[in-house]
Structures are given as structure tokens and as C-alpha cells.
């Protein structure tokens, strides 16, 4: 009888082989890479256009003999160009995870091989662990290709060499992305193993994705008191920052509810953590990495907690093989 690690490795190997044979994985990974590259290129072109506008304004002021003291030159931080890149990982990476999770269950159910596999001397835990390990390898490989190409493109586009500190920041965001995309893989896998009808499982997974990744952050953003009026309500009323803070104290409960809605979204945790580590959020720009991570540790714990919770649920949940073998 084969040892359990060997069984897990065999299932994982089969999973990788199966996934590579389908066009779905290459289509979505390619799409994620394309979106990330487009985002980086466009961001750098926009920054270049902003710089040219600054140069034109500066030259005009100088030719008129006026002071350029009030003209703020556009700041250049290479890692800030990764904003759109991170947002694409947030949106498309989650779709990649769901589709991989769905495929991992659907391929056995659709081909009625689940029952056949379970007739072998293979435990349920080994089967699920093999599936999880194989797909995590695929996720890590897909994200590694995306982040490596992103870092390379950042160097080529910006013309600024990335130092070890920059690469370390990108590597930390890469690790957070593995947890984030891995959580959506688990969601797709658990749902595809739980629902009687596979298409329903896929659609429920997409509904959860829409709600958690796109709608919850949008609701949180919309509920921001300062976002209710174009240009900001406080600016519109001409209220200074100290008074604004004083007034907002009366909205503490409202702000808590708003923050809780945003906290419900794993995408928001991934975004907040990544934007802080990469210095995209201004208050973290130029701050020591250790301080930034310490400040955003809660977001990292959330990502870890969601991933670990879903792994635990996957293994704790009973698997009704007979029911799942009957594709409906």
C-alpha cells in the first residue's frame, strides 16, 4: 500500500496535469498577466504625461518671469505604479481561484471518476489534501509568473532599478496574494463539493465574489460621509480639518458599521495590506517595512484566518461521495 504522502503527491500531480491540459487555466492566468501589464504600462504613460504637463507649466511660468514655487512636481515612486496591478490581482486573481476550485471538483464529478477514486485504498483526507496541494502549486506558479513579469516590467518601464528592499516588498505582497487567491480557490472547491448541481455552485461562488470583492468595498466607500457630495461634503461646506474631526465623532457608530462592511471583504484586507507595504498609500510611503507590517498586521491576520478557516472547514466537512457522484 502506498504511503499517505505518496498518495497526496500522486493526486496533486494528477491535478496539475489535468489543469494544464485545459484552456481555462491558461486563459485566466494569461488574462491576469495581460491585465497587470496593461495596468503598469498605462500607469507609467499617465505619469509621464503628468510630468510633461508639469514641464510645460514650469517652462511657461519661467518664460513669463514668474515664480515656480507653487508648482508641485509630480513625485515618482516606482512601487506606486503597482496600484492597478494589485487591484487586478484582487479582482481577476479571485476569479482564477474560484475557477480552479470549481474545476478541481467538477472534473471528478463530471467524469464520474470520484466514486472510482474512492474505491481505491485512499483516504478522504489524502484525496482533499492532494487536490489542495496541486492547486496551490498552480496558484503559486501563476502568481509567481505574474509578479515576476510585473517586477521586470516595472524595471523596464520606469528605467529605475529595483533594490532588494523593493523586491522584498513585492515578495511580501506576493505571499499575501497566495493567501487571498488560495481562499477563493477553497471557496470554489467547497461549494462545488457541496452543491448538488455544479452550475449552481459556480454561480453561487461568483455571487460571493461579486459581493465580497466588488460590492462590499463599494458600499463602504459610498457610505463614507465625505463621499456623499461631489468634491466632499466638508470641503463643500468649507469646514477645516479639526472641526471635521470633531463633527465626525458624532458619527462613530455609523463609521463602525461602515468599517465593518469593508472589513467583511477579504479583498479590502488584501488591498489595505498591499497598498501599505508598497507605499501606495501616502501615509506609509517611505516608512520602514517592519513598522508598516506591524501597523497592518490585522489585515494579514484576517487573510491568514480566512484561509485557515476554509482549510479547516474543507477537511472537517463530511463528503457524501455517493451523492456527489450523481451529476445533476
Amino acid at each position: 500500500m502506498t504511503s499517505r504522502p505518496a498518495q497526496i503527491a500522486t493526486i496533486a500531480g494528477k491535478e496539475i496535469h489535468d489543469a494544464l491540459r485545459t484552456h481555462v487555466l491558461s486563459l485566466l492566468t494569461g488574462f491576469l498577466i495581460l491585465a497587470a501589464m496593461v495596468s503598469l504600462t498605462v500607469s507609467s504613460i499617465a505619469l509621464h504625461a503628468e510630468y510633461l504637463t508639469y514641464v510645460q507649466s514650469r517652462d511657461l511660468l519661467l518664460s513669463l518671469g514668474k515664480s515656480i514655487n507653487d508648482l508641485v512636481p509630480p513625485a515618482f515612486f516606482p512601487l506606486k505604479l503597482l496600484r492597478g496591478f494589485v487591484e487586478h490581482v484582487e479582482i481577476i486573481g479571485a476569479v482564477l481561484g474560484i475557477v480552479l476550485g470549481y474545476r478541481a471538483a467538477a472534473v471528478e464529478r463530471g467524469h464520474s471518476t470520484l466514486m472510482l477514486i474512492m474505491t481505491r485504498p485512499l483516504g478522504r483526507t489524502a484525496f482533499l489534501a492532494g487536490k489542495l496541494a496541486g492547486n496551490m502549486v498552480l496558484i503559486v506558479a501563476g502568481l509567481a509568473a505574474t509578479f515576476a513579469l510585473g517586477a521586470l516590467a516595472l524595471f523596464v518601464i520606469s528605467g529605475v532599478g529595483l533594490g532588494a528592499a523593493d523586491l522584498l516588498r513585492i515578495a511580501i505582497v506576493f505571499a499575501a496574494a497566495i493567501l487571498y487567491v488560495g481562499s477563493f480557490f477553497l471557496l470554489g472547491f467547497i461549494l462545488a463539493l457541496g452543491f448538488a448541481r455544479l452550475p449552481t455552485a459556480l454561480l453561487v461562488a461568483f455571487a460571493v465574489w461579486l459581493t465580497l470583492v466588488l460590492i462590499a468595498p463599494q458600499i463602504g466607500d459610498t457610505m463614507d460621509p465625505d463621499n456623499q457630495v461631489a468634491g466632499g461634503v466638508f470641503r463643500k461646506l468649507g469646514i477645516a480639518k479639526p472641526e471635521e474631526k470633531e463633527i465626525l465623532k458624532s458619527f462613530a457608530t455609523y463609521e463602525t458599521i461602515r468599517d465593518d462592511i469593508e472589513q467583511a471583504s477579504p479583498a479590502k484586507h488584501f488591498e489595505r495590506f498591499s497598498f501599505a507595504v508598497l507605499g501606495i498609500k501616502d501615509i506609509y510611503n517611505g516608512q520602514p517595512l517592519a513598522d508598516v507590517i506591524l501597523d497592518r498586521l490585522a489585515d494579514l491576520w484576517w487573510l491568514l484566518g480566512i484561509f485557515a478557516g476554509l482549510v479547516l472547514y474543507l477537511f472537517a466537512r463530511p463528503l457524501n461521495i455517493a451523492r456527489l457522484s450523481k451529476e445533476q
Binding site: 491585465a35 500607469s43 504613460i45 481577476i92 467538477a106 459610498t222 457610505m223 457630495v229 458624532s250
Partner: protein, 306 residues
């Protein structure tokens, strides 16, 4: 007509379609709440600010709520139609074709003395019926919200604006419904038939606006993004000229944001006529493509491979 009613019934019998439609209606209610919340919050902030102004001896400015156009309360609907509405329409479009292919009834249908063009027109009719039904329900919720909110000056232009918004939303959703139906007809694999239109939807919603106007993926969800200034330079001038007419997500966002008065008109090169032309042309082209796809479908291999 019979084909349209039959296809519509199949679509609605599918639980996944009903699930997405239910989620869409839930978000319509959320949108109504957010509309109410926006007014209530600004009113509360204003009430807190007045004593501050008085204590400082400054003149008290007008309440910004008075400057908020009534239709802007529905601004979140722009996002929910673009997300849930489009996705529900896409799945609905998929189902009206895929259900026939999976049931294996197409060889029988094609053996009857009925034209394939008639069948395709029936499918399009079913999609139009379903999209209009979903939006009528959503519109009814919005009408009730507007009537229940106190202090809104409602006149004919408001109701006309709502009809215009839902007309634009219907065109946008229908385009994705047709795309879902085309892919469900043309692909041999059902998973690819579902994933390909979802990928196209992702590209149109999140990637193209970035290429044409430097609007980031998350910012693309905000109807206010039509006010963002497009960076200067030849790149964006070329991309917006080339891709702009194909970017139905931007056309929809511009038209709906303009109707709901959440745009200042700044920062965009799109015109209302151009945006409407883009949406209408997309629907006509997709309807034509669906007719061609159904006409070319091999009746003997009409089932899915997976």
C-alpha cells in the same frame, strides 16, 4: 413568439438565473437605502456644522442636500447594473441557448419546418423580455423609494430621467445577454462558453477604461469616475479614439451618470450621441452574430463536450 416565450420560461426556471436576479433585486434595495443614507448623513453633518459656523461668527452656507439632484440618489444603481445586472443577463443569455443544447432537443427542433433565423429571433425576444422584466421590478423599487423619501421635489423630468436610465441599462444588459447566448451557441465546451463572456465582461469593465482614460479597476466602479481628467498626451488620444467606440462599459457609465446628474461633464471626450450609438451598434452587431451562430450550429453535434 412561441420560441421566445419557451426560451424565457426555461431561463426563469433555472435557479442560477433566479439567484442572480434575486441578488440584483437585493442590491436595488441596498441602493435605495444608500440613497436615503446619503441624504440623511449630509443633513446630519450640516446640522452639526451650523452651530460651529455660528460660534465662529461665519456666515452659514446652504445645505448641500439642496444641491443634490433627486436622481443622483440612484447613483449606486449605475454600479449594480454594471456588475450584477450585466452578469445576470450574461447567465440568462447562456441559459436560453445552453438549456436546449444540454437537453439534446436541437436536432428535433431543427428537423421541424421552422427557420433557424426564427429560432434565433425567438431567443433574442426571450432575452429582451427577461431583461425588461428584471428592470421593471428594479424600477418599481426605485419609484417607491423616491416617493417615500421626504423632501424630494418630484416632477415629470425626474420620471423621464428614470425611464431614460432604465432604457440605457436595458441596452447594456441586453448586450451581455446576447454575448452569453453567442458563446453558449459557438463553443463546444460549456465551461468555456461561460468563462469566455465573463472574461470579456471583466476586460470591458476593468481593463479598457484604464487603457482609454487611465481609470483604475476599482475606480471604474464609481459613476463619479466619468469626471476624472484624462491625462494629456497622444497615447490616450489614440486609445480613446480607437477603443472608445467599442468600450460599451464607458458608454453606459457616461450615459447613466449624465442622466442621473452625477457628472459634471468634465474629464471626458465621450458625447451622449456617440455613447448611445456605441450601445445600439453593439446590440445590433451582437444580435446579428447570434443569428449567424445559430444558423451555423451543427445539429448533429449540438451537445456540449463537457
Amino acid at each position: 413568439m412561441l420560441s421566445a416565450m419557451f426560451a424565457a420560461r426555461i431561463g426563469w426556471r433555472d435557479r442560477t438565473v433566479v439567484l442572480l436576479a434575486a441578488l440584483f433585486f437585493a442590491m436595488v434595495l441596498v441602493s435605495a437605502y444608500l440613497g436615503w443614507s446619503a441624504t440623511a448623513t449630509v443633513n446630519a453633518i450640516y446640522a452639526k456644522a451650523v452651530p460651529v459656523f455660528q460660534a465662529q461668527g461665519k456666515p452659514v452656507p446652504a445645505n448641500p442636500v439642496g444641491e443634490m439632484p433627486p436622481l443622483s440618489l440612484l447613483r449606486n444603481m449605475v454600479t449594480y447594473v454594471a456588475l450584477l445586472g450585466a452578469l445576470a443577463a450574461l447567465v440568462l443569455g447562456h441559459q436560453v441557448v445552453a438549456s436546449d443544447r444540454k437537453a439534446g432537443v436541437l436536432p428535433l427542433v431543427f428537423s421541424r419546418p421552422a427557420s433557424r433565423i426564427g429560432l434565433a429571433l425567438g431567443k433574442i425576444g426571450a432575452l429582451v423580455l427577461a431583461v425588461v422584466a428584471v428592470l421593471l421590478g428594479a424600477g418599481l423599487v426605485n419609484v417607491l423609494t423616491m416617493l417615500l423619501l421626504p423632501g424630494l421635489a418630484l416632477d415629470g423630468t425626474i420620471w423621464l430621467g428614470m425611464i431614460e436610465f432604465y432604457g440605457v441599462a436595458a441596452l447594456y444588459m441586453l448586450a451581455f445577454g446576447l454575448l452569453g447566448a453567442i458563446c453558449a451557441t459557438a463553443f463546444a465546451s460549456e465551461s468555456m462558453a461561460l468563462l469566455t463572456p465573463v472574461t470579456i465582461w471583466l476586460a470591458l469593465t476593468f481593463i479598457v477604461p484604464q487603457v482609454t482614460a487611465n481609470i483604475g479597476p476599482m475606480a471604474a466602479l464609481n459613476p463619479q469616475s466619468v469626471n476624472l481628467e484624462v491625462p494629456g498626451g497622444s497615447f490616450f488620444a489614440v486609445t480613446s479614439a480607437l477603443l472608445g467606440p467599442l468600450s460599451i462599459a464607458e458608454s453606459y457609465r457616461f450615459l447613466s451618470a449624465s442622466i442621473l446628474e452625477v457628472t459634471s461633464g468634465a474629464g471626458t471626450t465621450i458625447t451622449a450621441g456617440g455613447a448611445m450609438l456605441s450601445l445600439v451598434f453593439a446590440n445590433l452587431a451582437l444580435a446579428g452574430a447570434l443569428i449567424v451562430a445559430i444558423a451555423r450550429l451543427d445539429a448533429c453535434r449540438s451537445g456540449y463536450r463537457d
